[in-house]
Symmetry: C2
Subunit: 255 residues, 2 copies
Amino acid sequence: MKIVLLGSGNVASILGQALAEAEHDIIQVWSRKSENAASLANRLAASFTDTFTEVLEADVYIIAVSDQAIPTVVSQLPVTKGLVVHTSGATPLEVFADRFSSCGVFYPYQTFSKDRPISFRNVPILLEAKDPSSMLVMEQIANSLSDRVSHCNSQQRSAVHLAAAFACNFTNHLYQIADDLLQKEGLHFDIIRPLIRETAMKVMEHQPVEVQTGPAARNDHPTIERHMALLAGSDDLSAVYSLLTKHILNNRKIT
Amino acid sequence: MKIVLLGSGNVASILGQALAEAEHDIIQVWSRKSENAASLANRLAASFTDTFTEVLEADVYIIAVSDQAIPTVVSQLPVTKGLVVHTSGATPLEVFADRFSSCGVFYPYQTFSKDRPISFRNVPILLEAKDPSSMLVMEQIANSLSDRVSHCNSQQRSAVHLAAAFACNFTNHLYQIADDLLQKEGLHFDIIRPLIRETAMKVMEHQPVEVQTGPAARNDHPTIERHMALLAGSDDLSAVYSLLTKHILNNRKIT
C-alpha cells in the first residue's frame, strides 16, 4: 500500500516514523510549508510537496494537521479513490462530507512530543469508517502499528477527547501549579517527580476512585483550611483548590 | 539502634517494612487498636502494645499516625531520651513543644497504599530536626532507606504538602472525572491509561510548562467551546473545565 502523509507536526512525525518502522511505503509528505515537508520526508525516505495538485496517487492519505486546517485540506486534496483518513479526536467523520468514496478517522489516543520516542504498540488507536471496506484497510494499518486497536464512533470520540483534557492537559497544568509552589520555597521540581509518577502508576492497576487520597478524600477539614490559608495570597489558586476540593468531597467513595 | 513504631496505617506499614529490610531493629509496634498493632508487629517480627505505659525504651520513636492523632500521641508517649520523630507533611516541628529533648520530622514524600509495593530508595525523605545531633541520627536512618534525602524546614514542608494536593490528590480526581466521562459512553478506563502514564512520564524529564498541550495551551477556542457544549449537562464539570482552562490560558508559555 502506498501512503501519502499530509502534515508535518508532532502527530505526522511520530505516526510517519511508526508507519516507516512497520515497513509501510510512505511515498510522499505534503505540508503547507515546503521546508517542513522536506524535513519529514527526508527522515521517511519519501518525496515531498507543498502543492495539492502535486500530491501523488496513493492507496491511503493520512491527514495529520491541526483541527482548524482539516476542512481546508479536505476541500483541496484532489478527489481520489484511495482511502482518506484524518487523525483528530475532536473532528467528526462528517468533515469529509461526500468528497471521498472511502474515508475514516484514525485517532491515536496519546500525547505526542517530537523529541520523545514512544512505543506505538501501546498507543490506543480508535477507528471510525464510512463503510466496512474502508474499515478493513484501516484495521490492517492500525494493527500493524498497535496492539490496542478499537472502534469508536464520533460521539464516543468526542467524550474520549474531552476526557483527555481532564486526564492529560489539566493534569499537566496541576503539575505546573505544584512546580510554582515549590519554586516559591526554593525547592526543585525533582522533589515531587516520584509522587507524580506513583500517582499515575497507581491507576494503571486500580480505578481512580479506589486510590483517591488527601485531605478532601478523608474529609479532613483542618488540613483543607491550612492549605487554603497558605493560598490566601492567590485568588486564582484558591479558586482551583476550593473547587476541586468541593468536587472530591461531593464524589468521594464512602468507606 | 532500637526503634519503636507508633501507628499501623499505610505509612507505618510501608515505612516499617522498609526499615526492616534495611535491617533496623524494630522492637515494638504501638497502635491504638491492639489487633492492628499485632498484625503489623507480626510482619516486622516485633512485639506490640496498645498502651502507652507499656511502650519500651528505645533509641528512636517514629510516630506514623493520622495528623489529628499526633498531638495525643505526643502528649501520652512517656518522656524519653530517645529521638522522637513524626512523619507528617502537614504538621510543624512545634507539635513536640518541649516534651522531648531530641525530636524532628521525618517526612517520606510519596503516596502510599498498603497493597502496592514501592521502592523506598526513590522516595524523597524530607528532614527537619530540633538540633544537630537529632539531625545526625535522622540522616543516618533516612540514608539507609533512600537515595533522596534532603533538609526542609516547616514552612517549606507546608508548601511541599500543598503541592502534593495539586499534583497527586487533584490529579487523581481528574483521572476519576475522565473515567466517568468514558463510562458514560460505554468505554473502559483502559483506553486512557497510556495517556495518563505518558503525561506523567513527560514531566520526569521536562518542566510541566514546557510540555503543556491541549486546546487551552494553543488558544484553540473552537475546541474549548465544543468541550463546554459536551459538559452542558453538568454544572460541576463545566465549572472545573472552565476554571482550569482559564488558568492555563492565563499562565501559558507564549511560543
